[in-house]
């Protein structure tokens, strides 16, 4: 499960061009990590691709923090 967290942080780091160390579970993509709405959409697409899952729009809208992404992906893969 820690593996999922690591992979999620790695994807965020790559997408937003920030250091993995700066990414905390409680970080909000927009408020803390400087993402814009387009980054958010791309992050969700990157998660879908990396984990081989589908994230419907209604679910994607609720993923605003790193923890949300980790939880959602764990739930899908669990």
């Amino acid at each position: 499960m820690a593996e999922i967290e690591g992979k999620v942080k790695e994807i965020i780091s790559k997408q937003l061009g920030i250091d993995v160390g700066q990414i905390k579970l409680e970080s909000s993509f927009i408020e803390d990590l400087g993402a814009d709405s387009l980054d958010n959409v791309e992050l969700v697409m990157a998660f879908e691709e990396a984990f081989g899952i589908q994230i419907p729009d209604e679910a994607a809208e609720k993923i605003t923090k790193v923890q949300d992404a980790v939880d959602y992906i764990k739930g899908k893969l669990g």
Binding site: D36, L38, E42, M45
Partner: protein, 258 residues
């Protein structure tokens, strides 16, 4: 955002090895555009509903030393568009250039225009641009590089009796082009339109002589345009050199509309 564009793609004259999709490129303006890009070393996907003609065009392109892939799909059908982009991605691994060129006419005065004529033209000319751009920006955003050129028309700006559907579809393309430009500018993607005037093609050959004479009288340059006139404008807009031009329209009409 220079830093986001790989150096190899910002240098002049380096379209070699890029990949382009030109919709409706089995003949006419689309074919001319595909040819102009192939001459610059760009691999081209020749998409058309007429796959037999597309195959012939692809063979012509390959003679120029580039890879060419004929592909049949309905540009107004989202399932087919998604599948086509998956095939392109699979075959080439990237997409640098999208030219939304596919289009049809179903002319009639508004009083006599059927719903089906309106819907068909809006779907094939305008919805197609939305569907193809949607798939293209997914690939281009990841690459942090892309060039989208949408083929509009002078009638988007002037109107034209008998072309309510066509002129509306082409005017719609202008708004869509500007929105695409704004949404993806930060991803190294530019979106522009080219608005041809009266260009000699099968589509315009079909017009009555009287109409052609009247149009010629309204063109300051005094000649109809050639397919290459349009293709050259597109080739410029999709080049790395055009990096600072986005959300704009190049009019290729001999001065017919300024």
């Amino acid at each position: 955002m220079d830093a986001d564009i790989p150096a190899s793609r910002t240098m002049s004259g380096t379209m070699m090895g890029q990949t382009a999709l030109v919709t409706g490129s089995a003949r006419g303006i689309g074919k001319g555009i595909a040819l102009a890009l192939a001459k610059k070393g760009v691999n081209v996907v020749i998409s058309d509903v007429n796959i037999e003609e597309a195959k012939v065009v692809a063979t012509e392109m390959e003679a120029l030393g580039v890879k060419a892939m004929p592909l049949k799909f309905d540009v107004s059908n989202s399932v087919e568009v998604t599948s086509a982009f998956a095939q392109i991605s699979e075959a080439f691994g990237r997409l640098d250039i999208l030219v939304n060129n596919a289009g049809i006419t179903r002319d009639a005065l508004i009083m006599r225009m059927k719903d089906e004529d309106w819907d068909a033209v809006i779907n094939i000319n305008l919805k197609s641009v939305f569907l193809c751009s949607k798939e293209a920006v997914k690939l281009m955003s990841k690459q942090r590089y892309g060039r989208i050129v949408n083929i509009a028309s002078v009638v988007a700006f002037m109107g034209n009796a008998g072309q309510a559907n066509y002129s509306a579809s082409k005017a719609g393309i202008i708004g869509l082009t500007k929105t695409t430009a704004k949404e993806y500018a930060k991803r190294g993607i530019t979106a522009n339109a080219v608005a041809p005037g009266f260009i000699k093609t099968a589509m315009t050959d079909a017009l009555p002589e009287k109409v052609k004479e009247d149009m010629l009288a309204a063109i300051p340059i005094g000649q109809f345009g050639e397919i290459d006139d349009v293709a050259n404008a597109v080739a410029f807009l999709v080049s790395p050199e055009a990096r600072y031009i986005t959300g704009n329209v190049i009019h290729v009409n001999g001065g017919m509309y300024m």
